[in-house]
Amino acid sequence: MKLTATKEFKALAEPLVKNNPVFIQSLGICSALAVTVQLKTAVVMGLAMTMVVAFSNLIISSLRNVVPRNIRMIVELIVIASLVILADELLKAFLYDIGKQLSVFVGLIITNCIVMGRAETFALGNPPWVSFLDGLGSGAGYSIVLVTVAFIRELLGSGSLFGFQVVPEALYRAGYQDMGFMLLAPAAFIIIGLLVWLQKALIKE
């Protein structure tokens, strides 16, 4: 069997582009608007999100045969909330400034539908290892969108990437201006809209 045909590969690769959680499933839009003004916050948010969704999938999938059906949502929420709080604690300990910029949006990973969605639709019906890969893929798919949007917004809005000035000073002197609109939330809407269009145009079913 070819590597690309295995279930594991599909679980990991499908959410990257073909079944991207933001583009196709339209989940996690809120935080995609809020944390994409700068690349740095987008990358950290993507990593935190990937960690949470991968491990929540892993844990929930391992528990799937022992959790009583009537309280499975409660157990899922306990797992997800614990992981999010853990991510928040780690940020506060090691990346304090970025954690402060992300403010409530780390905590709001709990309400990010991608996490609950993958737990309900995938982890409950699949073994732990595949679920973990699916979580990694979904988190990475979300991160790709975040980083792409942040790249465009930071480049056009602040003329920088990762905080380093990339638009040369000479260009500013020649009359170039940063697009202030890119720093506002509506800009992210428009970029995400354009990216969805591009994705649909490139990948035909």
């Binding site: 409660i74 157990v75 909330a81 614990s82 853990l86 604690e89 300990a93 402060k100």
Partner: protein
């Protein structure tokens, strides 16, 4: 065992395990977290007197060094006298002096204001003339990101620089946040006492205005001494020797 009982047990054990894990993580990382909070606090204090450049990245040691070299902790007595902070039973309200070349350049007041959703903590620095605001920073708040949360942004805080806490007759009036733009809303002679508000955050502005006013009022005797030119580092040092 009935299904219901089993469910309850399962939920209880899961919750217990999760809380144990989180308690462990929280107390294990506490040291790092507290160190970060302290640094952030010091950074904001330095920022309020313009010692932090927005385009420069500072390491923890840079900030500690800047803080050690420039900032002195004091306590303000009831008559507005300044006593250096000592470990033994500090009395009076805390404040900080920005001292450079043996000259007090500014004094920094800790602000603990009410906000719309929770407390707002920050620093308000006033220059040594006792009239001009040197800077305002926020290190802790619970306001809505994008609305009241803008109080932590540079565009808002920069508006405080150069504002006056006294009116044209040198009477104390505090510095306030208005609804809308100062240029449109306030008579020309009072514009020095107000900063632009944040649209969508009228209440945050109102609470913070009150908080700033309360803070400045509490330290008004200190400000008055600065206005009269009665405080320089030497008198503060002299008070240190005369106080028991």
């Amino acid at each position: 065992m009935s299904d219901t009982l089993k469910s309850i047990w399962f939920a209880a054990i899961t919750a217990l395990l999760a809380s144990l894990l989180l308690t462990g993580a929280s107390s294990g990382l506490k040291e790092y977290r507290l160190a970060n909070i302290k640094l952030d606090n010091q950074k904001n204090l330095l920022k309020s007197v313009g010692l932090i450049h927005p385009d420069v990245t500072y390491t923890g040691e840079d900030i500690e060094k800047l803080y050690r070299e420039n900032i002195k902790s004091y306590r303000a007595g009831e008559a507005g006298d300044l006593v250096p902070e000592t470990a033994a039973a500090p009395q009076g309200s805390p404040l900080f002096l920005y001292v450079k070349d043996n000259q007090t350049r500014a004094y920094i007041l800790p602000v603990h204001s009410r906000g719309l959703w929770g407390k707002i903590d920050g620093y308000l620095a006033v220059e040594n003339d006792g009239r001009t605001v040197s800077g305002f920073t926020v290190y802790n708040h619970g306001e809505t990101p994008g609305l009241g949360g803008e109080i932590e942004k540079a565009w808002f805080q920069n508006n405080f620089r150069g504002k006056k806490i006294v009116d044209q007759n040198d009477r104390f009036v505090s510095v306030g946040i208005i609804k809308g733009k100062v240029a449109d809303q306030v008579a020309a002679e009072n514009q020095a006492n107000f900063v632009d508000g944040i649209s969508g955050a009228t209440l945050t502005g109102r609470f913070l205005s009150e908080g700033l006013r309360d803070t400045l009022l509490a330290y008004e005797k200190v400000s008055a001494k600065f206005r009269e030119g009665q405080i320089n580092l030497n008198t503060a040092a002299a008070e240190k020797t005369s106080s028991p």
